[in-house]
């Protein structure tokens, strides 16, 4: 049996978490490919509807980073 690898959508605030992810990328720091980053103008913009839509499309977890 293969090990369970959760699909994660990370909603990242453009002013902090997304900028941090961007910087991590510039520094060639790796992160797992099962995490999909979505830039949001602010995590305050993140609505329950977007979270539900992510789950509806089959992700296993949602991260709000901001």
């Amino acid at each position: 049996m293969t090990e369970f690898t959760p699909e994660i959508v990370a909603f990242c605030c453009r002013h902090c978490a997304y900028a941090a992810a961007d910087l991590a990328g510039s520094l060639r720091i790796q992160y797992p490919p099962n995490v999909k980053v979505v830039e949001v103008p602010c995590t305050g913009r993140l609505d329950i509807v977007e979270v539900l839509h992510a789950f509806e499309r089959g992700v296993d977890g949602v991260m709000a980073a901001g």
Binding site: D47, I48, V49, L52, H53, F55, E56
Partner: protein, 234 residues
């Protein structure tokens, strides 16, 4: 505003059980501002139902649309063009919205997603209270602007009952005694004398006791005007 609450998910699933393609119709007026049936609630319910029915093993095609007001023909008429794509309408309007859709689209089953609760106002964010029962014969002018029909559990017209304790109602301590509120406000306004007038039994024929009600304004009726113009030309 009309205040409503969403039905439990299990009940909604039962109501749409026979349909494969469901159109959720939200309403942009009262039920939007009481967070029960607006565009956002329609989107959340749609997503929830798509996932829930898929998990139950028979996923349904569910779309959402929100109209400005479900209780007027002109706002719901544009829905007709897309109704062929659906077996059933799940209305997130109040009871009036549900019936307006059912009346306008006689070939399409319409089911309610909300329980319509009362006419009232948000007294604070997240808390709504009943204020009017549409009794058809307003007496707020006699009762210091506080309605004993909607807010007194016994709908008394001439002061509180013996169950009024420390300003609370005996039916439930969370209910303020309407007559205590009336007394305090009338006193503060220097209008206590108004309360000395004995009110006769209320004429309930103007309320639901007279059957379903209808308001007709002949001066506003288009058919009336047409007849008037035609009559004038003759």
């Amino acid at each position: 505003m009309i205040v409503a609450e969403q039905k439990p998910l299990e009940e909604i699933k039962e109501l749409i059980a026979d349909a494969e393609r469901v159109l959720i119709v939200g309403c942009g007026t009262c039920v939007t501002v009481c967070f029960a049936g607006g565009a956002k609630e329609a989107a959340i319910l749609g997503s929830t139902l798509r996932m829930a029915t898929r998990l139950d093993g028979h996923g349904k095609a569910i779309d959402e649309v929100t109209v400005q007001r479900q209780c007027e023909w002109e706002y719901i008429d544009p829905l007709e063009a897309r109704l062929d794509d659906y077996d059933l309408i799940l209305s997130l309007g109040c009871g009036i919205g549900v019936q307006t859709l059912a009346e306008r689209f006689p070939d399409k089953p319409v089911v309610p997603g909300l329980n319509t609760v009362f006419m009232g106002l948000p007294v604070e964010q997240g808390v709504w209270e009943e204020r009017c029962q549409a009794c058809g014969d307003c007496i707020l002018g006699l009762t210091a602007g506080i309605c004993p029909i909607a807010r007194c559990s016994k709908q008394l017209l001439n002061g509180p009952c013996g169950g009024s304790q420390d300003g609370r109602c005996e039916v439930d301590e969370s209910i303020p005694c309407a007559w205590q509120l009336i007394y305090e406000r009338a006193k503060a306004l220097g209008r206590l004398d108004k309360l000395l007038e004995i009110q006769p039994p209320k004429d309930w024929s103007k309320s639901r006791d007279g059957g379903p009600r209808r308001v007709v304004r002949e001066d506003l009726r288009l058919t009336h005007r047409v007849a008037e113009v035609a009559g004038g030309e003759r």
